[in-house]
């Protein structure tokens, strides 16, 4: 009975569930997205962190886009640049509190110098930053800094 209670507690704890869901990626993920030229999905990839105020401020736009485009070949991906420590508490808590629906990935790299330029030569490393890529068309766009919903939609429209 006691074991059963534990199981219920674990399953009921959002923290436990979300901790299992956040997939960790490394820099090869960036190149895989770009090089998978048979993939005609438009990826809208936002680099953010829970502590970054302008990142958090623009998240609702990405969420809105995610909801609007679910039936289309468009995928919103939020790549977290939080600390490794945050992966077990702060990040899952944030996703649960804000009820984030878009896919959240965790960038598991310590040296950003190795991967920032893989995303874009124009990226200084400041977040928020947004990368749009449609591998089948070999088409990409990049924006450093906070976006408005209008600006985000403009970036997306380039790919139609």
């Amino acid at each position: 009975m006691r074991q059963f209670c534990w199981l219920i507690w674990l399953l009921g704890s959002g923290q436990f569930l979300y901790a299992q869901q956040i997939q960790q990626v490394n820099k090869s993920w960036i190149e895989n997205i770009r090089n998978n030229t048979t993939n005609d999905t438009l990826y809208i990839i936002n680099f953010w962190a829970t502590w970054c105020k302008p990142c958090v401020a623009e998240l609702p736009y990405f969420e809105q886009l995610h909801k609007q485009t679910q039936d289309k070949k468009i995928r919103v991906v939020l790549v977290s640049n939080d600390t490794k420590k945050a992966l077990t508490d702060r990040l899952p808590q944030f996703i649960s509190d804000k009820q984030i629906q878009s896919r959240v990935l965790f960038m598991n790299e310590t040296n950003a110098n190795d991967w920032i330029e893989l995303v874009s030569k124009n990226w200084s490393g400041a977040i928020p930053a947004t990368w749009l890529v449609k591998a089948s068309l070999k088409q990409e766009a990049f924006h450093e800094g906070e976006l408005t919903f209008e600006k985000l939609n403009e970036l997306v429209k380039q790919f139609k």
Binding site: A49, P54, T83, T110, N113, I116, S124, G125, I127, G145
Partner: protein
């Protein structure tokens, strides 16, 4: 005739390339002369690079109070100053953030933090954000190592402090230390430009925004 067309074509390509370049030269590059400034330190005094008569150069770091990356590097910035000030390379910390967008980075809060953590280096407030723009700083922390020369203070390194923000002891490459050590030894810097994730500088909102 053909040759003329070729010449015109070459000239226009050159001009196009030049125009393109002009658009992309905001901020300083390696080898550029860095502009001096007069900014208010947390002790109330105005500070310029020209005040440092005996310095061989400077470790200019755009940083701030609120940013977790700046906080992660705070102790390392203190140690850089302790290690290199006596060798002629003091740390010059500059906060470029707009206090209206990030109240934690106000001048008063800078004073508080500097006192609390006993900053051994100057901590200057770039209220107009003009110095951050002139240097081409985009995030915090963002380092510019300058070397004094007859021509002025030349930019020798732009980038991150080291390659591991989460854990100083796990850093494989201490970019800033390697660069200053090379300058002190009269050698060329092997890695003179790096990138790191950081907090975007909180620029003042334009009136139209």
């Amino acid at each position: 005739m053909m040759r003329k067309i070729h010449l015109i074509l070459a000239a226009s390509i050159f001009m196009l390339a030049a125009a393109f370049n002009i658009n992309h030269t905001s901020g300083s590059k390696i080898g550029d002369k860095a502009s001096d400034f007069s900014l208010k330190n947390v002790d109330g005094n105005m500070v310029s690079l020209a005040d440092y008569k005996n310095a061989k150069g400077f470790i200019v770091i755009f940083t701030c109070n609120h940013c977790p990356f700046s906080q992660a590097y705070e102790q390392r910035i203190i140690e850089l100053h302790q290690k290199y000030e006596s060798k002629g390379y003091p740390v010059i910390a500059i906060n470029p953030n707009d206090k209206d967008r990030e109240p934690e980075d106000s001048y008063e809060n800078m004073q508080k933090l500097a006192k609390e953590k006993s900053y051994p280096f100057v901590y200057l407030y770039d209220e107009t954000q003009e110095i951050a723009k002139a240097y081409g700083a985009t995030r915090t922390p963002h380092v510019f190592i300058l070397q004094k020369s007859k021509k002025g203070n030349l930019v020798k390194y732009i980038g991150a402090i080291d390659d591991n923000y989460e854990d100083a002891t796990a850093a494989q490459q201490k970019y800033v230390e390697q660069a200053v050590d090379a300058l002190l030894a009269g050698k060329s810097i092997s890695i003179n430009q790096t990138k790191a994730i950081g907090c975007g500088i909180k620029w003042k909102k334009k009136p139209t925004e």
